[in-house]
Symmetry: C2
C-alpha cells in the first residue's frame, strides 16, 4: 500500500500539496511537526475534520515519536476533500488543506461491511466471503519469517488473517525473543505504559498494508490472555483506553482492518464483561469508519446481540460438525456468524488441535451450507513452530480444498448462502429459486432424489445439477435438465422423478442452479405458513 | 385452591378478620364494595401495600363487576402482614388490615424461579424440572371437556401446561363455539375493549387454581396470532396495556402462573419488536412477585438476552434432534432453555405434527442431557380435536415414557443436569463427579467403554452404572463397581478397563452414579485449561 502523505511545516505548505490525488479507500496522511517536550503521547490532543461538502469526518491524530504527528484519513467518497486540524498545541492546530480523491486502486473494494443481515460485502457492494486463517503470533517472529508468511499467503486461498497485536511471552522457536513491543521499556513487565513505542506500530502497519495488497483482511486482536508475564492483559483502565485509542488512531484508515476486541476474552480474569462493553464502545466511537467489531470467546460467549457487535466471532469445538448445529446461532443474533475457532487441523497433543484435514474441510462446508463462515487453522508442529502460532509454511491438506471451496463461492450468485428450509433440510444452503448447495457431510450416499423446498419455486422451472467432490476437488455436471413438478405441500421434485447418482463416499455436495425461469417467491420474508 | 378472602364493608371490618391465617404462597384477597357508575375498569385505580415489617409489596387491585373490587396478594414470607389500600375513590382507599401467614399448604413449594443459571427451582429451593405439555385452546372447550382434561392431567406426568388466554376463532369440534370472552361484546370483532368480562377471567382463574392443586404450572400465553377475526391480536396500544395489567392484577397472586408473552410472537404482523419489549416491561413492573417471563417464537427468535426475559421459550423444529444442537442456545443466553415446541407427536397433515412417539421421546432425552428442557405436544386427530388443541384424552405413546423420564429426574441430585464436556461429549449431562446420564439416541451400540470427562474426578473414585431403556422403561443395574483410573489428559476410565454391555437398539442411556469418594473439582468454573 502506498501512502499519500504530506509534511506540513506550517500552513503555507498546504496549497503546494492540494493538487495530489488519493484513491478512494486509500490513505491520506497529514504529517505535522510538533512539540517533543513533556510526554506527547499523553499531553497532546490532535485531530482533524475532513469535509467533502456533503459530510464531515473527524479523525484523531497520533504522536509517532521524534516530534512527528500524523493524522490518517481513509476517504470513502471521490471528489475534493478539505480538512482543518485541531489541537491543544499551537503548531498543530488550525492547519488546513484540501486534496482530490479519485477512483479506487485496481482490485480495491473498500472496507468490508455487514451485508444482507448474515453476510458481508465490500463497501463497493462486492460480496465478501470470509475465508480466514489464524496466525496468532506471526508479528512476533523474525522479519524474514514474517516475509515467508506473506509469501505463503500470496499463494493461499485466504482473504482474512486473524492475529494478535501484542506478543505472547513465548519466544519464537523457544529461543528467538520478540524485539518490538507496544510500550517503551523492557520485558517482562518493566513497561512505561504512558509511552508507546512507534517502531512496534510501524511494523504492525507495514504488515497490515501488505495484507491489504494481497486482498487479505486483517482481523487484529487487541487483547489476549496469553502474555501474563508481559502484563498487557492486566493494564489499568486508563492504559487500556489509551492503548485502544492509539491503535484505532493509527490503524483505522487501513481499509482492511477488523477489530477483534480479544481472543478468549473470558480468560482475561481481571476484566469484567462491563470492561468489554466499554472497550467496544471506545472502539466504536473512536473509529470514524465503522470497521467490523467482534470478540472471540473462550468458555463463555459474549452477548453478541449488543449493538456494538457487528458479527459473532465464535469459538466452538463442536458446532460446525453438523450444519444443523451451525445454523442455530444465526437466528439468535441476526448477524453474520464467523466460526473463528472450531478446533484446528493438526497433530497437537491437545484435542483442540487434532482435526484431520478431512474434518477441517468438512467443517468449512458444514458451516457454509448453514449460512455461516468457518475459518481455517492449522497446527502441525515443525521446528517448534506451527502455522497457527507463527505462520511460515502451510503443512496441512485442508487449505488446498479451501481454495477449491472459495472458487465455488466466487461462482455463486450475490446475496450469500442462507439455509433454505432451516428446520428440515439443514444440509442445504443457497438462494431460493436460484442456487442451492446440498452437502452430505460424512454420509456417503450413492443416490440423491432431486427435491427442493418450495420457497421461490413453481412448476416448470429448470435446474442443472453438478456433483462436487469436496476432497478430490472435482465438479462433475449431471447430464440433462431437471424440470420442477410439485411433490407435496412442502417441496418440488423433477417431473420425471429423476435422481442423481452419487459416488458413495464422504464429502460430497451437489450444486443445483436455475437455468430456466424464476419463481414467485422472494427471500427474507418468512412465508405465511412456514412450517 | 382455597381463597382466604375478606369482604370489607368499611374500615371497621378489619380487626374482625385479623386473626385469620393464610398459608405461605396462598392467596389473601381483599374484597371491597365500590362504585358502579361510569366505567370502573377505566375510571378506578386501586392498589394496596402489604407490609410485614421487613418489606413492602405493592399490589394492584381490579374491578370484578357488580360493584366488587378485589386485591389479591400472595405472601411469600410467614408472619404478620399489614396492608393499606389506596384508590382514587373514597370507599376504596385507606382500608387497612392485617393477617397472619402460616406454613405453606401440603405439597406447596411456592412459585418457580430460575435456579443455578440454567435450571428452575421452587421458591422453597426444591428443584423443578419442567415437564410440560401444550393444550392451546382447552379453555375454549365446553366445561365438561375441560374437566376431562384436568382428569387426564391428574394421571399424566406433566408439571406444566402451556395454553392461550384468549380463544381462537376456530370452534371446538368445528361446531361448539366459545362462550366466554375477555371483553364485553360479541364475536366476531364487536367488542367493547374498554370493558372486561369478569366471567371469562373467573373461569381462567378456576382452571389455574385447579392446575395448581395438581402441582402443575400454568404457562399462560397472553397474545397469539391465530384469532384474526376475533381481533385480539390487533388491539390498540392502550387496550393491549390495559389487557396485560388486568390479567396480571388478577393472576399474579397464583403461585403457579408463568407469563408467556405470546405464541409465535413474530407472526403477529401488526406488532413490532418494540411492542414486545414494552409488554415485557409492563408485566415485569406490574407483577410484584416476578413470575417467570418468556416469549415463544415463530420464525424469528426474540432477543432472550434482554433483562426482562427469565428463560428462553423456543420453537425449533430441529434443535433437539441432537444434544449437540440443543446445547448451543444455553451459552448464548446463560438462561434456562425450554424448548416449548419441537414439532409434535402425531399424524397431522403438516410436518410440524408428524413426530413418531419414539422421536418425541428421543427429543425429550436429547434436550435433557444437553442441559435443556423439551416439552411435549401431541396431535392425533380424534373427533376433530387433538390434545394439542383442546386437551381431553392423551392418545399418544410418548407421554408414558415421559412419566418414566420424570421419575429418573426426581432421583437425580440437586442442581440440574449440565453438559459435562460440552464440545466433546455432547450426549452426556450431569453433575461432574457425582452423577451422569449418557444418552445414545438413535445409535444402537452394543457396548460402551466406561469413560468420564476429567472434571471433578480423581483416581480411586467409585461409580455404579445402570442401563436405561428409555422406550421400554427399564432400568438395569450393571454388576459391580467402576473404579477410576486416569486415561489421559482429558478423561478417566475404569481401572480394569471395564465396558458396559448395551442392548444394541435405539433409545438407550446409561446412568453413572458416584458411590464412593468425591472429587477435587467444582462445577460452575471453567477449568484453567478447558480445551
Amino acid at each position: 500500500m502506498r501512502f499519500w502523505s504530506i509534511v506540513l511545516a506550517g500552513a503555507w505548505a498546504v496549497s503546494m500539496m492540494a493538487a495530489e490525488t488519493v484513491p478512494q479507500w486509500g490513505i491520506y496522511e497529514i504529517v505535522l511537526n510538533g512539540p517533543t517536550n513533556g510526554n506527547p503521547f499523553i499531553d497532546v490532543r490532535l485531530s482533524a475534520v475532513f469535509d467533502n461538502g456533503s459530510k464531515k469526518v473527524e479523525v484523531a491524530g497520533f504522536y509517532d515519536g521524534d516530534g512527528v504527528y500524523r493524522i490518517r484519513f481513509m476517504p470513502d467518497e471521490q471528489g475534493v476533500w478539505r480538512y482543518e486540524t485541531e489541537a491543544n498545541r499551537w503548531p498543530l492546530t488550525r492547519q488546513v488543506g484540501s486534496f482530490e480523491v479519485g477512483p479506487p486502486a485496481k482490485g480495491r473494494h473498500g472496507p468490508v461491511r455487514v451485508h444482507n443481515t448474515y453476510h458481508f460485502a465490500y463497501a463497493d457492494g462486492t460480496l465478501y466471503y470470509p475465508i480466514g486463517t489464524t496466525i496468532y503470533n506471526w508479528l512476533q517472529a523474525p522479519d524474514d519469517w514474517q516475509e515467508l508468511t506473506l509469501n505463503t499467503l500470496s499463494n493461499a486461498p485466504f482473504n482474512k488473517v486473524r492475529f494478535l497485536v501484542t506478543p505472547q511471552d513465548v519466544d519464537f522457536r523457544k529461543s528467538v525473543p520478540a524485539t518490538l513491543f507496544p510500550f517503551e521499556g523492557r520485558p517482562r513487565n518493566e513497561w512505561d505504559f504512558t509511552r508507546f513505542s512507534p517502531p512496534f506500530f510501524r511494523k504492525l502497519e507495514q504488515r497490515i498494508a501488505q495484507l491489504g495488497d494481497l486482498g487479505i483482511e486483517a482481523d487484529v486482536i487487541l487483547f489476549h490472555p496469553y502474555g501474563k508475564t508481559y502484563g498487557f492483559d492486566t493494564m489499568d483502565p486508563e492504559t487500556d483506553e489509551r492503548y485502544i485509542r492509539y491503535i484505532v488512531a493509527r490503524l483505522s484508515a487501513y481499509h482492511n482492518v477488523w477489530w477483534s476486541l480479544a481472543n478468549e476474552y473470558d480468560f482475561l480474569r481481571t476484566k469484567t464483561e462491563a470492561d468489554w462493553h466499554r472497550f467496544f464502545q471506545i472502539v466504536q466511537e473512536a473509529d470514524p469508519y465503522g470497521h467490523l467489531r467482534s470478540i472471540h470467546n473462550g468458555y463463555d460467549i459474549y452477548n453478541n446481540s449488543l449493538p456494538w457487535v457487528t458479527h459473532a466471532s465464535i469459538q466452538n469445538g463442536s458446532a460446525v460438525t453438523d450444519p444443523g448445529r451451525a445454523v442455530l446461532y444465526r437466528d439468535v443474533w441476526r448477524k453474520p456468524v464467523v466460526f473463528d475457532e472450531v478446533k484446528y487441523e493438526g497433530t497437537e497433543n491437545y484435542r483442540w488441535g487434532q482435526l484431520t484435514p478431512e474434518e477441517m474441510t468438512h467443517r468449512m462446508w458444514a458451516g457454509l451450507v448453514a449460512g455461516t463462515y468457518v475459518q481455517h487453522g492449522e497446527c502441525y508442529l515443525h521446528a517448534d513452530d506451527t502455522w497457527l502460532s507463527y505462520g511460515g509454511v502451510l503443512r496441512g491438506e485442508s487449505w488446498k480444498r479451501i481454495a477449491f471451496l472459495r472458487q465455488i463461492l466466487e461462482d455463486a450468485p450475490p446475496g450469500g448462502l442462507d439455509p433454505v428450509d432451516k428446520w428440515q433440510d439443514w444440509d442445504m444452503g443457497g438462494r431460493s429459486g436460484v442456487y442451492y448447495l446440498k452437502y452430505f457431510g460424512w454420509a456417503a450416499p450413492t443416490n440423491w432424489t432431486f427435491e427442493l423446498p418450495r420457497e421461490g419455486l413453481q412448476e416448470g422451472m429448470q435446474f442443472r445439477v453438478d456433483v462436487i467432490d469436496t476432497w478430490n476437488m472435482t465438479i462433475t455436471p449431471v447430464d440433462g435438465v431437471f424440470t420442477l413438478k410439485r411433490k407435496d405441500r412442502y417441496s418440488f421434485v423433477d417431473g420425471n422423478g429423476r435422481a442423481v447418482k452419487l459416488p458413495g463416499k464422504p464429502g460430497i455436495a451437489v450444486r443445483i442452479r436455475n437455468v430456466g425461469g424464476s419463481g414467485p417467491g422472494s427471500r427474507g420474508m418468512a412465508p405465511v405458513e412456514p412450517f
